[in-house]
Amino acid sequence: MTESTFDLVVLGGGSGGYAAALRGAELGFSVALVEEDRLGGTCLHSGCIPTKALLHAAEVAELSRHAASIGVRASFEGIDLPGVYAYRDGVVDRLYKGLQGLVAAHDVTLVRGRGHLVSPSAVRVGEVVHSAAVAVVLATGSVARSLPGLDFGGRVLSSTQALSLPELPRSAIILGGGVIGVEFASLWRSFGVDVTIVEALPGLVPNEDRSCGRALERAFRRRGITVRTGVRVAAVEQDAKGVSVALAEGEPLEADVLLVAVGRGPRTAGMGFEEAGVTLDRGFVEVDAALRTRVPGVYAVGDVVEGLQLAHRGFQQGIFVAEEIAGLAPAPVPEAHIPRVTYSDPEVASVGLTQAQAEERLGAGRVECVEYNLAGNGKSQIIGASGFVKLVREKDGPVVGVHMVGARVGELIAEAQLAVAWEAHPGDVAPLVHAHPTQNEALGEAFLALAGKPLHTHR
């Protein structure tokens, strides 16, 4: 057993871990980053990036399918799955190389292998103990969960398996209408797959403002995706021919594959966390507002911390923890100020409180909402986007939530995020007329309407 000492030892090289390592190095710490698989973690290798590459291929498939309707003589002949994978892998590889370069340039020591927390200040990897003179950061991420009694394997797929199918299924059932489920539904449908979503809750994307789930469901139905909400699964069976899903009520569903997208659970077992005194709550590492675990000098970031399972939340927490450790006393960013984007067709994007959350927090009488339909937005008409922008405001007060549905609205969330995080009043935004013709004008019109001075809005 040899020993090696660093200021910081970060366990897990995903979004949260590598952000903590890079920021830690910038702040002058010597840093070891322990990763058993590939630097970049879930997001880069089996999450955000590969799914969004497939979703872009899906977008191009849809655009070429409908090109004739706008005067472009193009024809869509199908999906070349190996070609899609090659493109996706090209994107991942370039970003992976970039990240490796970044870690090297920051003089972060990348330790390859499985780490165990062997004391509050040491992580063992194989025969080497990496001691942390200043702090340990736990960033071991999450793994796909399934339903009790339902194991991944064969025709029952996790998102990771769904990303590397050797060929496209003809039909698919997707269990779960959350972000991952609807993104796969959307891209498979564009690729020509017959898709059925089964969601136990009453609507799709149930964490979003209810208006979003409703609009997404309507759009999905128009696209030929079958949506079954409020429906529970009783049993799943598979054989050589297909998979059969028995529902709590009604006829069973049959398909080539079943994607289980019912959520992801923290990866915190079997790595010595609890033995070192770190407490868990339903598997999540318990932390305070400054992301400190119960053990002094041990922090946690990313999907192991309960809350939004998003890569940029991991980045933000990683940066925060490095600065916290360095004594910079950073201000915590409220979870509600973290933007959320679902990259389906149509996209869903939001930041801040839903109408229901705002009404619960402020009282229904103190909340004011406005919805601007993309039908009134020139650029949305041009690209054929339908949907809306919804603002939620505290009466006579700041905008506390923004919710959008429509093609390409994901990029509009950046403006919304500044407005919500800086607690802007509609009157602050109203004089700043937006560029014409952009989709962000829809946001501008909604702010104008809330400020009592609608422009392209019927009253």
Binding site: A375, A424, H425, G452, T457, H458, R459
Partner: protein, 67 residues
Amino acid sequence: APAAVAPAPAAPAAFAPAEVRPLAKPPVRKLAKDLGVDLAAVAPTGPQGTITREDVQRAVAPAAAPA
């Protein structure tokens, strides 16, 4: 048809009394909030009576280290 928008409840009241509050750009208001500075108690030096970032920083008691 464009713009099926829920009627904006406000009367044509761009600068209705309810909007009256100390003038400051949103990031400055946010800074004041983070620093615990009450904008109503800050003397504005910016154009049109706007409270500037410097006004807020000046209002922070020298003893209280900024967060």
